[in-house]
């Protein structure tokens, strides 16, 4: 029982970071109906920004953290301008967007390998490794912070989408870009906003991930897990992305805890295939077409 609770806590913590990444996939999907595979690259860059701000510039943690998020947001918008906007302007088929996304993703990864190098970088210890104790349970300080920061960001995002004018305009554009344009909504600005938000959260997730593990150019690959979570929850749905991520996080830690961590990724990817075959709309998704 205690081991189970311990795994649940770990799962919740990793699941909440998956959620930060998954909402980025979902937001872009909801507006543009394709999966932005360059998102993983942005998460990786966020992790590097945080690392360099802390080690080279010796910025205080909070400043480095925010700086990484802002830089990641700017780069996400840059990717949109360079890789997707020209396609949007001529109403290119979805497949072109996906290919362009994969190209951008490979470019980012190889750019980092060529400039920074392929080696692993370890974040300086910002938090003490000493965990909190809650009765028989150990709760890591970093895990706690991962959960708290993710939860705050997600709550802020959901408030923004559901209760502000811009948020409603994003929902309207997700439903029908044409009708939104006829209401005077600048849909290009909506696209920029969505990429900026996704990138900002990706930067935060990247720093948290980098601190938990290490930073290396292929870290973006891990973020495929958050893509699985987004598909599981239903692409295009924010609550779906959050719920899917938390379930996936808990599932993964339970599997590595009770069986072996070798099985973890096997099960995650099996989950992806099972969902795509039997329930492509996910838990609460918006439509079934063009899932990849």
């Amino acid at each position: 029982m205690i081991q189970f609770l311990q795994q649940m806590i770990n799962g919740l913590s990793i699941g909440s970071v998956y959620a930060l990444m998954a909402v980025g996939y979902s937001l872009v999907y909801s507006i543009m109906n394709f999966s932005n595979f360059a998102h993983g690259g942005i998460i990786m860059l966020g992790a590097y920004f945080g690392f360099f701000f802390l080690t080279l510039f010796n910025w205080p943690f909070a400043v480095a953290f925010l700086g990484a998020a802002i830089c990641a947001a700017a780069l996400a918008v840059l990717v949109e301008r360079v890789a997707y906007k020209p396609l949007r302007m001529r109403n290119a088929p979805f497949l072109y967007f996906i290919i362009s996304a994969m190209g951008a993703s490979m470019f980012i990864e190889n750019f980092v390998i060529a400039t920074i190098g392929p080696t692993f970088k370890t974040y300086p210890a910002v938090f003490s490794r000493e965990p909190f104790r809650l009765g028989p349970l150990f709760i890591g300080r970093l895990d706690t912070m991962m959960f708290v920061i993710s939860a705050i960001c997600l709550a802020a995002l959901i408030y923004f989408i559901d209760f502000t004018k811009m948020g409603k305009a994003i929902q309207a554009t997700a439903f029908n870009p044409r009708a939104s344009a006829l209401m005077g909504i600048n849909t290009d600005l909506i696209v920029i906003t969505v990429f900026a938000i996704g990138g900002f959260l990706a930067g935060i997730a990247g720093v948290l991930f980098g601190m938990k593990y290490t930073v290396y150019p292929q870290i973006g690959f891990i973020t495929i897990k958050s893509f699985i979570a987004a598909v599981f929850g239903g692409l295009g749905s924010l609550p779906g992305a959050v719920i899917g991520s938390v379930i996936l996080g808990i599932l993964e830690t339970l599997i590595s805890g009770y069986f072996s961590s070798q099985f973890r990724d096997l099960i995650s990817f099996s989950l992806l295939i099972i969902i795509l075959v039997f329930r492509p709309i996910g838990l609460m998704g918006k439509s079934t077409e063009e899932k990849a």
Partner: protein, 246 residues
Amino acid sequence: MLKVENLHVYYGGIHALKGIDISVEKGEIVTIIGANGAGKSTLLNTISGLVRSREGRIIFKGSLLRPVPHHIVMKGICQVPEGRLVFANLTVKDNLLLGAYLRKDKKGIKKDLEKVYELFPRLAERQKQLAGTLSGGEQQMLAMGRGLMSDPELMLLDEPSLGLAPILVDTIFAVIQDIKKIGKTILLVEQNAYKALSTADRAYVLEQGKIVKAGKAADLIEDPTIQESYLGQKAEAGDRKSEVGF
């Protein structure tokens, strides 16, 4: 108020509009009638900036319109699109408020919201409901109310009666008269030529991307060629069962 001059639009290799000239004066209801595929919606979408023209000019209140949808809404032209396109995932009230997206005058927005509820009491009853749960007729009312919320000077109505039961068609055309009375100018595109001509002041007949006839609506409704080509289908169109709602 609105002047379209020598407008040419192409879809790929298809020449959809072949030199259109029309004008709309303040306070008028002008209708464009024509068969499916004649280019009626293309014309409205070009005025709204959704479709680019290759040649020609669109002048609104003396200045050239930039073909950018949100600029055009800002200038005071609002389109109520074909098929209504309400935001089904949002409430009726949110839909209406999105119509006022570019406006900053909170008081004016509130006043116009009340005006819309007065015009469409059904929407007031259902303001907290998701727009997707409304019937076809209610969605058309919502789409028109949403359009009014931008406080436009010129409203472009694209097939407002499409797919509605005959009794609702009458309601919608009565509302179009009401909208005129509150001082809006209307450019109406319709397949229901009889209804459109009975409601409008002036009319244009569009055939295969060209204006083939223009004049007072009251005269065109008596025109034998119009009666044969467009009004003969009136009974048939009116009898057609509604596809959406009720």
